[in-house]
Symmetry: C2
Subunit: 284 residues, 2 copies
DNA sequence: CGCTGTGATACTCGGTCGGTATCACAGCTA
DNA sequence: TAGCTGTGATACCGACCGAGTATCACAGCG
């Protein structure tokens, strides 16, 4: 009577997302009436009205907002429990395995050093490197798809995780080698902000849906190509120089904030394997 | 098929705690057979063996250890979702309310300043101060009994939460005024560690079950009384001077680590009320 | 060799989940 | 204003699942 089942949270979150019972039911793969009843029962159980049913759609009450927020956390936590348990069970007996989430294409050098150094440790576990989309590492840690991640501040937020800073580097502008600005010794963010023929690329993703003029890109190779074609410019940490093409030029940015790379893990983790990886990383 | 219900996690955690189906069932208020079946079904669903049934009790497999750890997190998260939603629903319409967990008896001065300053803010919400046992604040934040807490490092661990440091202070030894050591201008931890007639008190709680010689205490008044009676000595932040009795003496400790007071909240919190309280606190 | 204590199994019953059909109601439109 | 449309709620039913009781299978022990 004083708890709630995951199924109910899943249902509520679907309705809260869609603000429409029919669509939510479809998304959940059930019919609409059972969904209506489940939400009613949830409200009865909590003793709280979660949704305002205005005869034209649905809206969240204050309590509903809270449950949406907190329920998401709970849902992620159970998904993580399931994933990590399955993973631990699969290779029971054999070596441990840790999933390391890394922004696809980034961290080349650091990652190589880290993996080499760790593999040299006695009793090292297997590290599975999982390339992730932009900013997706946070979700992956939260829902158990990954156990540990490499992240960049200030691009990623580290809230809710434990972390150790590994290195800090300045940022550079990466632009087409033939572009006039590529001749400059240094640039400022303003210099590259408003160049008409080089609109800043926008990462496709949930962060900013700001409809800027620049092309929408999904991964780094795509970006590299667009830069090489003289279509856009991008801001990256210095270590991005390792993957530059002939047609690229990197110019230091005088006023871009420095980027710090962190190794990040869920705060409640307690595994020996993870602890050793972190120790190795912080000694690099 | 790829998720798990809270009920199953509750059941598994009970068994993993007790390592005994009968006792676990009793604790859960159900009969033993349904519990056995529920665990079997959970194992089937996860495709993983969680428990090793040796005909004399039960032991956890590696995967079981993981599920115990991660499941606890998930359980806390759903309990928190339920508590916070109920709380938000109760006073719907009236003013918001925030529950602030505070170690019982501590933080007198700071707390007064904070509550006064916050109450003076326009549109201030109601702050319910919830006195908690030693080190219990962390659990309270995790399972939703509280929304925000005041904690002392290094006594409390801040892992998994966001926090802002508010003040740092040195520590003092609090001892009976009539005791010879009370005459000293300063003391070191060694000085008070092995005094035969003043065994260090041990806080009753989960942290250390180390069977020391000192009395086991549950709250601060109890401790104050024991010190006044000349039976024990304790180490406290300087601000503890506010509640000293006539019979107490406070002597600075030269080598005790300084204590920092933080305001701490769950990393995913996003409420306006909380943000304002934090802002007020960090400006004190 | 039986007793004790363990967890698993067999079987039954009741609640609940999910489905289909239908209702009640608001807003629109002809 | 009558009817259509789209919304969520209700009625009813079947199937499954969770919980209970009774019992089994087995190891350890006197």
């Amino acid at each position: 009577m004083d708890t709630v089942e995951i199924r109910e949270l899943r249902y509520f979150i679907a309705v809260a997302d869609e603000l429409h019972f029919g669509r939510a039911a479809e998304r959940l793969g059930i019919a609409q009436p059972p969904l209506s009843r489940a939400i009613q029962q949830l409200e009865r159980r909590l003793g709280v009205t979660l949704l305002e049913r205005n005869r034209r759609g649905v809206s969240l009450t204050g309590a509903g907002e809270i449950l949406l927020q907190e329920g998401r956390v709970a849902l992620d936590a159970t998904a993580a429990a399931v994933r990590r348990t399955r993973r631990a069970g699969r290779q029971d007996g054999s070596r441990d395995r840790l999933v390391l989430a890394v922004k696809a294409g980034a961290f080349h050098e650091l990652l190589n050093k880290l993996l080499d150094a760790y593999a040299a440790e006695p009793g090292a576990a297997e590290i599975e490197v999982l390339p992730s989309g932009t900013c997706e590492q946070e979700d992956m840690l939260r829902d158990g798809r990954a156990d540990v991640a490499l992240m960049h501040t200030p691009y990623n937020s580290l809230t809710g995780f434990d972390s150790v800073a590994l290195m800090t580097e300045a940022q550079v502008a990466i632009l087409p080698a033939r572009h006039p600005l590529a001749e400059r010794k240094t640039l400022s963010l303003n210099d590259i902000a408003d160049v008409p023929d080089l609109p800043l690329a926008r990462w496709a993703g949930k962060d900013t849906h700001a409809p800027g003029p620049g092309p929408e890109i999904h991964d780094q190779t795509q970006l590299a190509q667009l830069i090489a074609l003289g279509r856009t410019v991008a801001v990256f940490p210095e270590s991005a120089r390792t993957w530059l093409w002939e047609e690229h030029a990197a110019v230091p940015l005088s006023d871009a904030p420095p980027v710090t790379t962190h190794i990040v893990w869920p705060a409640h983790s307690r595994s020996r394997v993870l602890a050793e990886l972190i120790r190795t990383a912080s000694r690099l």
